[in-house]
């Protein structure tokens, strides 16, 4: 079967059990993500969305349910698939290797797997970098880059790896609003250039609608799916759609759902503090 990156999450559940206190992180989540789809999961902080991503990536395991990719079982209770290059992750806190140059960071995945030669990888890396306005930073160390540059480099590193599915865990969380809007457009440009299944996590609703083909709202802990909406705004998209009536209507529709959950999360936090 061809690996196209269709992801099927069925009744997925994850219960943490530290010292006998059951914490339900993910509760009966079922999602069908189509091959090549840009799927965004939105939820309040601590709702279990990162847990779900970690299970798909192979860093964690389920306590109930199953996840299949292209019909092949990926994760089920007690079974954890090794993390692998078919499911490359872009991490919230950033994970460029500080001891290697930008170019090395970007080319290490495909070269390590022996898919392409070092020279071909370097050529491809330069094309990717130029596409998002990062020409000439190849020989810098990651620490010399700004936050927005680092995020773009890390996304390119993941795309160069040519995964079946790209997993992005709140990648733009630490960026300021202006940088964020530029980097979001760059992500879309890269997605249009090199389309593949994307599973994107965020707590920013505008970001979700702007980027996604479909947006799912996750409830506060225990995290389950509250609502899934298709974003029928054609691609390629740019920042001008942010003020279109279709965008605003979706934002209003989803905004209400997410606000309720944020409110519940806030109140739960207040209770825990009291």
């Amino acid at each position: 079967m061809e690996n196209t990156g269709a992801l099927s999450i069925r009744n997925a559940g994850k219960i943490y059990d530290p010292e006998g206190i059951h914490v339900v992180a993910v509760d009966d989540v079922s999602l069908e993500i189509e091959a090549g789809e840009f799927f965004v999961l939105v939820g309040p902080s601590g709702c279990g969305k990162t847990t779900l991503l970690n299970v798909i990536a192979g860093f964690d395991q389920l306590t109930s349910g199953a996840i299949n990719m292209d019909g092949t079982p990926l994760a089920s209770p007690g079974k954890r698939l090794r993390p692998g290059p078919d499911r490359t992750v872009v991490f919230q806190q950033g994970a460029l290797f500080p001891w290697k140059s930008v170019l090395w960071n970007i080319t290490c995945g495909p070269v390590k797997q022996g898919r392409i030669s070092v020279e071909a990888a370097k050529k491809q890396a330069r094309e990717f970098l130029a596409r998002v306005g990062l020409h000439g930073i190849e020989d810098q160390y990651p620490e010399a880059l700004s936050g927005g540059q680092k995020r773009r480099v890390e996304i390119i590193r993941a795309l160069m790896n040519d995964p079946t599915i790209l997993l992005l865990d709140e990648p733009f969380r630490a960026l300021d609003a202006l940088t964020k809007s530029v980097v979001q457009e760059h992500l879309l440009e890269l997605y249009d250039f090199s389309p593949k299944t994307v599973f994107f996590i965020t707590h920013d609703l505008e970001e979700a609608i702007f980027l996604g083909d479909r947006v799912a709202i996750m409830t506060t802990r225990p995290g389950s799916i509250k609502k899934v909406v298709r974003v029928d705004i054609p691609r390629p998209r740019d920042h001008r759609i942010l003020t279109s009536s279709r965008f605003l209507k979706l934002k209003a529709e989803l905004g209400e759902a997410i606000h309720d959950e944020a409110q519940k999360a806030f109140e739960a936090g207040e209770r825990e503090l009291a």
Partner: protein, 286 residues
Amino acid sequence: MTDQSVIITKSGERRSAQPMRQLTSSNRFIRWLKSLWGLNLLLGTISIGTILLFWEFAATLGIPGLKDVPPPSAVIAAANDLLVSPQYWNGWLLSFERIGIGFLLAQLVGIPLGLAMAMSRPTFGTIFPIIELLRPIPPVAWIPISIVFWPTREQSVIFIVFLGAFWIVLLNTIGGASNIDRVYKRAALSLGSQPRDLFWKIILPATIPSIVTGMAVGMGISWEMVVASEMIAGDTGLGYLLWQSFQIGAIAHVIVCMISIGIAGYLSSALIRAIGGFATPWLRLH
């Protein structure tokens, strides 16, 4: 191929495509020199000059305590004496040799052991209690037992130097290797690395800065140890020469030896800094 100096992205944003200006070590050195030039240089010369003058005439002025210390002129005379003596230069050579061997052995044992302890719980559990038992004993306290244990004096001196550098490099390696952010390991696995690759790809490079810190501190302790053990157990080296000069009452020679050991320690630290900078080029930005 066209050479674009400005890239205009889809959103119309203009972006400089010039690589960022790098602060190279040579122009940083020049800036450092410039900052020294001028007022600081003047003040430094005055303060050191005053102390030297005061010291020179302390005996004439009859200052208690200082009147038995040879003045700078006597130290210079002693230096002229020592600088042409083969025993003096041989002392440099032998002390450096002992430092070299003892320090290197400490790295060769300490770094792999520290990495093994950080990566394997059973190894840590087995070895850590022994370390905590032995580490509080100052290396100097090992000198007598070392003389008894090792067949030659040379070996006992090297052993003491080894101990001086060993604990600190071991602890720094353990600390560095056990505090690596797991996100790097996860990223490597997610980019196609096998778990067995993680040691060379992640654990080792991420630990190097801690190892370099351990080496820098360890080198300082090594010099203390080589001087102390040469005084007690040696019959050559700068520490021995210092002690021998003291015993025959050649205090000016003692001071020359002190200054020489200071210079030797400084040169060793500079060497470690250079090696450290070479091993961690990504940290030169800071």
